[in-house]
Structure formats: C-alpha cells, structure tokens
Symmetry: D2
Subunit: 163 residues, 4 copies
Amino acid sequence: MKIVFYTAGGTIDKIYFDAKSDYQVGDPILDEILAEGNVTFAHESKTIMKKDSLDLTDHDRELIYRTIDEETNRLIILTHGTDTMVATARHLQSIRGKVVVLTGSMAPARFKSSDAPFNIACAVGAVQTLGEGVYICMNGRIFTPEEAVKNVDRGVFEKLPQR
Amino acid sequence: MKIVFYTAGGTIDKIYFDAKSDYQVGDPILDEILAEGNVTFAHESKTIMKKDSLDLTDHDRELIYRTIDEETNRLIILTHGTDTMVATARHLQSIRGKVVVLTGSMAPARFKSSDAPFNIACAVGAVQTLGEGVYICMNGRIFTPEEAVKNVDRGVFEKLPQR
Amino acid sequence: MKIVFYTAGGTIDKIYFDAKSDYQVGDPILDEILAEGNVTFAHESKTIMKKDSLDLTDHDRELIYRTIDEETNRLIILTHGTDTMVATARHLQSIRGKVVVLTGSMAPARFKSSDAPFNIACAVGAVQTLGEGVYICMNGRIFTPEEAVKNVDRGVFEKLPQR
Amino acid sequence: MKIVFYTAGGTIDKIYFDAKSDYQVGDPILDEILAEGNVTFAHESKTIMKKDSLDLTDHDRELIYRTIDEETNRLIILTHGTDTMVATARHLQSIRGKVVVLTGSMAPARFKSSDAPFNIACAVGAVQTLGEGVYICMNGRIFTPEEAVKNVDRGVFEKLPQR
C-alpha cells in the first residue's frame, strides 16, 4: 500500500511569518505526524499550491484536478483549506480509478492543540478501506462531496439536511 | 454514526503508579484524543478489563468475545495490548453483524510522543468504511487477523509472509 | 510571594487570525503554562497592549513605564516582543523598588514547540531571587539591560562585547 | 555561565518498562527541555543514581554529597524524587562555595502534561541568581531546606508553619 499526500494549502499548513524576525518554520509537519504514528506504509508528499482555500480560483481547481488525475498512485490524501473544501471535492468527482480523501484542519498543525493529526490519521484509515471515489474526512467522519457542508458557525462539517 | 470504544488494557492505557506518591492519572485520555480531533460522531467508551495483553487468559478472551458479541452498536473499536492483539483478533472472528477494529499503541497515550492518537484516529477512519468483520489497525495500516503478525524486534505489525 | 505578569504583546502572544474562518484562540496561554508548572504562588496577569515590539512608540514605552511604576506589587514579569525588548528594558531602568524581568519568545506560545514555557518559568525562578532592578530573561540566561543585545541572525540574546 | 545537572532519579526520570515489549525510552529528556528553551548557556548532565527517592539510603545521600562537593562547577541543579527531596537538601547544606538547586516533578517528564519542564526552567532562572547555598525549587517557588515540606495530600511543596 502506498499513499500520496498532496497539499493545496489551507489552515493545516499555516505558519506564522514575522517580517523582521528570523523565525521560520520548516515544512515537514506531515512527516512528523506520520513519524509519531509510527507508520510503515509507503508514502510520498507533494505540494500543488499553498493557498487559503478562499483564494482558490477556477484555474487553481483545474490544476488540482489535472495533478490528481495524472497521478499514477491509486490512494491519495489531499490537504486543503476547509472553507472551500466541499467545492474542490465536488470539482474532483469525475476523477476515475482513484480513492481521493480531502482533509484539513481548523487549527494549524503546528499548534500545540490541533485537529490536524487526528484528521490526517483518520484519512489514512479511510483512504485504504474506501472504494473508488472522492470523499471528505473531517471531525472523525467521512462525507461524500454531495452531502457535506461546512457549518461555519460551529466550525465543523455536517451532512446537508436531506430534502 | 456511532462508535463504541472498548478497552481491554495494554500499553495505550498504561499509567505510572507510584506506591507512595499521591500522583494519579485520570482516565479520559481517549476523550482527550477525540476532543483534539474535534469529532462530531456519537461515541461511548467502556472498559472490559485493564490488563497487559500478555496476561490475558482464555477466560479473558471469552469475556471480550461475549461483551462485543452482545454489544448492540455495529461499529466497535477495541483498544488492546499489542503483544497478543493478533490472538484476540482471531478469537473474535466469528462475531457477526459488526465491524470490530482492534488497535493499541507501543507508547502509552499519556506520553508526550505516542502512536496512540494516530492509531485511534486511523481506526476511526477505518471502522466506518470497512465491511463487517474483525480487523487490526496499527502503523497506519489495516490488517485482517489471519495476515497480521507483530514483529517484536522492529516493534511494528506486518503481514505474514505468504506461503 | 506574588508575581504580577504584564504583557506588551510580541511573538509569545501571537495567534493566527483567519479573516473568514471562525477560528479564534482564547487568551489564557499564560494560565496554561502556570497550571502545567503546578505553581502555588499568587499571581495575576494584566495586558498593557498587544503589539509587535517593532511597532512600539515612545508613547507606548511611556505607558509601559507608568503602568509598571504605579504597580504596587514588587515582583513583575513583563512579556514583550524580542526585537525591541532591550530598548524597553533600558527605558524602564529608573523604576525603583521593584524587580522587573522582561521575557518573551521566538516562537508563539501556542506552537507545539516553543521557547515560551521555558522562558516564563525561568523568569519566575529569577524574579523572586534577583534584587531590585530591571532584567531580561531569554535563552535560559539573565541579562542586565546594558549588557544585552539580540543577535538577529542567530535568534538569541547575547552579552554585548565588552569594550 | 555554566550549569551542571545531576540526577539522583525520581519521578521526573520515570519511564515505563514493559518486560516483553521492546519499547524503550532513551535518556535525553533534559536535553529536549533545554533545546525547547533554546538555551545558550554551557551545560553538562551527569547521573549519580536512578532511584525512587523513597529508596535512597544514608549511603546514597553520602554519595550524592561527595559527588556534588567534589564538583568544580559552581552552579548545580540536582533532579531528585520529591518524597525525600527535603531530606537530601538538608543533608547537602554544609556544602560550601556552590549554588545547589534541587528540583523534580510530580509527573514524569515524558508525559504529555508534566511539571518537569517548568521546574527545570525555574531552577535554571534561580540557580544563576541565588547566592551560595542549597535550595529547593518546586511549584514555581524557591525554598530553603529548613522551611520546605512536601504536602503529600495536595502534592505540592509548602513552607513549614512558623513556630
């Protein structure tokens, strides 16, 4: 089993930049999370872009689509900002032959307390057991793109009320 | 979706007992892990026993079997010591109508660095997407009881070499 | 013994603001640090301002001066941005009858890895054992305002080379 | 400034040993604490013994005495179990020409939540500002050996009621 992790940015990757200070945060927070989980599956991580999901354009979504569509590995986890995660998930739905799980976090992964490690690990459990398709993994739950919605007030993902 | 967490003990729950000192660790480490993951699914946690898995007897395994067999909730995560996790998983295999995922950790969940949060979260992702059956979730991978073995030297779970 | 903590802002208090997301970080990171240290001394915390130390004006420094000068408690820890911590410390030097220890951090206190808890605790140890005066506590060392300088390249406080 | 850290054991160093499992914890937790504090002072750490402080004998205390008495560095922090920390501190009081600060923790330093980092950092702040003598640094406070007592019920160090 191999999982390829793509990132499109979002809060999970947020770091704090201080213009004057020389403080800088390195990248490998995903590596730290996987190392703490003592994982033994093959994995690779690639950056598509580093954007607030509110700033993602149609062009950006098209780039995400093509990148994942052309990826040869079957199991893919895409970290993404939460605000437009559902929109991107819907955009990716026509991708065939892959299991794509989108996840992210409400608090930056570098924070002492963050939902990022849980979400990444939950997505790892889901991506290898789900069938072909596109899914959202947030708040310990797996959603299809059609049924998911971010409840901005509560800061959680929910199922759309059924009509 | 509701997940019922059972514990049979093991390293994941290990706490440090000091005969004389009044230092005591409370129970709700699972609650902390789920709270950090900001989970929104219904869940409940129950203790079957608190034992080193090397000390589990046939009688203990029978108690675990009956407890889970009689549980009415479909999705079950059982935390268990790693040393005999495979034996217990095999013992539970005849349980029908449920998804049972066994997990645990090499380092106690209370340690600053532990594989426990990752394993719990990975099991949460897996239990809701797997079909009926008994599984082991360790090292970011999902194993069936027949194929799993703990490599004691490396401290990880592996697939048995196929004959 | 009672310690009054004042904050003038700086990286130690930095939080991540996301315009659209409802993610918000509460204040009591100092309380968390002190609770983890299981401290039993009386303490109180007050905010003078919340500014990057590069943005502090003469007027701000005057406000800090007056606030601390008028404080009736003898032991004071002032958290402050590192970039102009030395300037503020020098500005406060004419305050009499108090022990004032300035500290801060290179990484926000909310980060998983941060020098903030160490610096706060080190300042707590120092403020109750130092004599009247103004001091800087950074990198596990205690400096007088005259001898301290921030080495921006190395991201640490050092003693000025003696002439 | 140089600080020499000695350890005599105690909860701060406690690790969890699992007879059968190959799980083992390395030593350098003090190094991690100092690294997180981004300290720049010279330091060295040495082990005198690794014992529960309740098991320390007169012979052990004599060994601790001699080791510290013969140490050439002036600033010394001794980590020690809390249960008999006061007894050892009193035993060391005749040592001359040094500043010796005893500290420890109620929860092992490897725990996710532990008073160890705070106590170490507080001792670092105190040892370089105190005059010659032997002190206890616990709960964010500095005690002389004569006035200190561990309140076992509350799990904190206090001043003995004055007669």
